[in-house]
């Protein structure tokens, strides 16, 4: 962590830590086991305004920068909580803020800031279009003053815990496009009042993440719910990627620190063969190494966040931060599990839960492979694989 955190940032971190203390290991164990949404935790964060960090003051948010927001998410994970349950409420609104019109912003942002409107579902991924977003097939066809949507999305998180969903759908058939990055559009779907059939099927996955398959059958969206221009949706989504990657990096750093803390403590206390296991270099060095990697990744995260806040290009840094942090947290998770031995597998020790949770950062919202492809092709100028 840089020694240059401002007084406000230290205060924010302290306050989030205090809040998280009321949601200790046992709470998350219970939530995980029941595969329940951590509603109480989210309500407390919402009530204290933390999820509205990035919403400008004129819309009732705190108007803070990305670094501040990243500190909030990092601290949740560092305290043993799971920011994955709510991080999207913080940043999905960015698309609306940057590309929505005045009316849409006035209509939705104050409610999102106060927590009265939950907008934490963003439907992009499809069974036939994962990493290759420009291949999505879910169609939105304009009919008078509305669009009719048909298709299927997969891995769409927190749909049941949202009032509004952002949807990326095809408005021009792929084959008719010259520029394949065009032809997609972003819509606001108000799920409190759906016309047509929106079927949400929870997916049974490795972590407690509330992610779903979503089927659209003649779902009607008023044309006024189109965000920005028709056909520009892919660009709008890309615009949000850097911020999202930096925030995800911070979450992974938080996890990494949690694992290193737990591992070093356990290694100092657990006595085998008459001495603490941490006295053995085979146990101690991997923990120290994971620590070093987490700290190094953290520097890239702050570097990326600073560039972002200065309005500079930061695609490379944001991508590297996300990948390095995901790698470091995963290394720390593995080391922590090794250190705990058999107890690492016991639910009561919480390591296995965090171990499962932190694994996600290497895969979603973007796979580390795609980060390397970005670096190889966009930064280093090597030939493209796609």
């Amino acid at each position: 962590m840089p020694t240059t955190l401002t007084e406000d940032q230290l205060a924010i971190r302290g306050a989030v830590r205090e809040l998280c203390r009321d949601y200790p290991d046992a709470y998350w164990r219970e939530v995980d086991k029941a595969e329940r949404y951590p509603k109480e935790f989210i309500d407390a964060l919402t009530k204290s305004g933390y999820l509205a960090a990035l919403i400008p003051e004129e819309y009732g948010g705190a108007g803070l920068g990305l670094t501040d927001a990243s500190i909030i998410l990092e601290e949740m994970n560092r305290s043993g909580c799971n920011s994955g349950a709510c991080h999207a409420q913080m940043y999905i609104m960015g698309t609306l803020l940057r590309h929505g019109n005045d009316r849409q912003k006035k209509q939705y942002l104050p409610g999102i800031a106060s927590g009265d409107i939950r907008m934490q579902a963003f439907a992009v991924t499809e069974p036939n279009a994962g990493s290759e977003t420009t291949r999505i097939e879910t169609k939105a066809v304009r009919q008078g003053d509305k669009y009719i949507v048909n298709g299927q999305k997969i891995f769409i998180s927190r749909v049941k815990q949202s009032d509004l969903m952002l949807l990326l759908a095809r408005t021009t058939p792929y084959d008719e496009l010259k520029d394949k990055t065009r032809g997609l559009s972003v819509f606001i779907v108000d799920m409190r009042n759906v016309k047509g059939k929106l079927d949400v099927q929870p997916l049974d996955i490795m972590i407690n993440h509330h992610t779903n398959t979503v089927f659209f059958e003649d779902v009607e969206i008023p044309a006024e719910n189109l965000v920005g221009e028709e056909g520009m949706g892919f660009r709008y989504i890309i615009d949000g990627w850097n911020a999202e990657r930096i925030l995800i990096a911070a979450e992974a750093i938080g996890d990494g620190r949690w694992f290193v803390d737990r591992a070093s403590k356990y290694a100092s206390e657990r006595v085998v063969f008459g001495r603490p296991i941490g006295a053995n270099q085979g146990v101690q060095f991997p923990i120290a190494q994971a620590y070093a990697h987490v700290e190094a990744a953290d520097l890239m995260r702050f570097h990326a966040a600073e560039k972002f806040e200065r309005g500079e290009k930061c695609g490379a840094e944001a991508n590297m931060a996300k990948m390095l942090a995901a790698d470091a947290s995963w290394e720390a998770a593995n080391v922590c599990l090794n250190t705990y031995g058999g107890y690492g597998f016991a639910r009561d020790y919480d390591v296995e839960r965090k171990f499962r949770e932190t694994r996600l950062f290497s895969v979603a919202p973007v796979n580390n492979n795609m980060v390397l492809a970005f670096l190889g092709q966009n930064v280093l100028g090597m030939p493209r694989s796609y």
Binding site: E7, D8, L10, A11, I12, G14, A15, E18, L19, A44, K47, S48, G49, Y50, A52, A53, A62, L64
Partner: protein, 260 residues
């Protein structure tokens, strides 16, 4: 109602405690800090009274520059202004000195109610509040679990031993030392943290308050140490009466020869 809350910054519960070289304190470099737990309940109680009755909540704290983070935290939670008494040795065991400084800093303000924590998580003397009450000439009650204001009087529920309580009543102004658990302290909100920056923080030094810089030396800490863990079971034989007599004898001897 004008309420003063005394806050102390203490080492955070998760801090690793290692003795300093001189065995007079724990190593500061290892520590992170937080507001003493009972004080957070005192602050919450003050904020609730203000919400009910109107008025002002002021926080005062004594210590080095780092304690300003705790004062700011209280301001972020809703206190109106802060007073920082700047001194290097907040941990001095001489609580008469500490209470004297606080009294000198706030006497003029004529608070209706002064709340402190029941004791601090570091020194745990439980004295500052009651000595402060004496210095300010206020009636006081300790270990408070509930407060009711009635006109110009205050009723307070004291915790006694073994699950017993008692209600005491006194005229305002008064001082109460608060027990943890009487309410649920709020979290600082994000907007609260932003607003705290523009709230008043008065700084005063002991010299400006006309007091000694380093305490009166009436009470001095000689040494702190980590108790050595040991386990030793011994059976005292004889009739119950004889065994009891032996036990009393042993207790007398062992307390006298406890580690120095």
């Amino acid at each position: 109602m004008k309420i003063l809350v005394c806050l102390k910054q203490v080492s955070a519960k998760e801090s690793t405690l290692r003795l300093s070289e001189d065995s007079l304190h724990v190593r500061e470099s290892d520590l992170s800090f937080e507001i003493n737990e009972p004080d957070t309940f005192a602050l919450e109680e003050a904020l609730r009274l203000k919400e009910q009755l109107g008025g002002e909540v002021v926080v005062v704290s004594l210590g080095p520059a780092r304690i300003q983070t705790s004062i700011r935290e209280a301001l972020a939670k809703g206190a109106d202004r802060g007073i920082h008494i700047e001194t290097e040795n907040a941990e001095s065991v001489d609580r008469t000195w500490a209470a004297g400084l606080i009294a000198a800093a706030v006497r003029e303000e004529k608070f209706d109610l002064v709340l402190t924590g029941l004791q601090s998580d570091d020194l745990g003397t439980g004295q500052t509040g009651v000595i402060l009450a004496e210095f300010l000439g206020l009636p006081h009650a300790t270990i408070i679990m509930e407060i009711q204001i009635e006109e110009s009087r205050i009723k307070a529920k004291r915790e006694l031993e073994g699950g017993w309580f008692e209600w005491v009543e006194m005229p305002l102004p008064a001082l109460l030392t608060i027990q943890s658990g009487l309410n649920k302290p709020r979290y600082a909100s994000l907007l609260g943290i932003k607003k705290a920056k523009s709230k008043e923080m008065r700084r005063v030094t002991p010299v400006e308050l006309g007091a000694e810089v380093s305490g009166t030396n009436a009470l001095r800490l000689r040494k702190i140490y980590v108790p050595v863990k040991s386990k030793n079971t011994e059976f005292l034989d004889g009739t119950p009466k004889e065994a009891a007599a032996k036990l009393v004898e042993r207790i007398r001897r062992e307390i006298v020869s406890s580690p120095s």
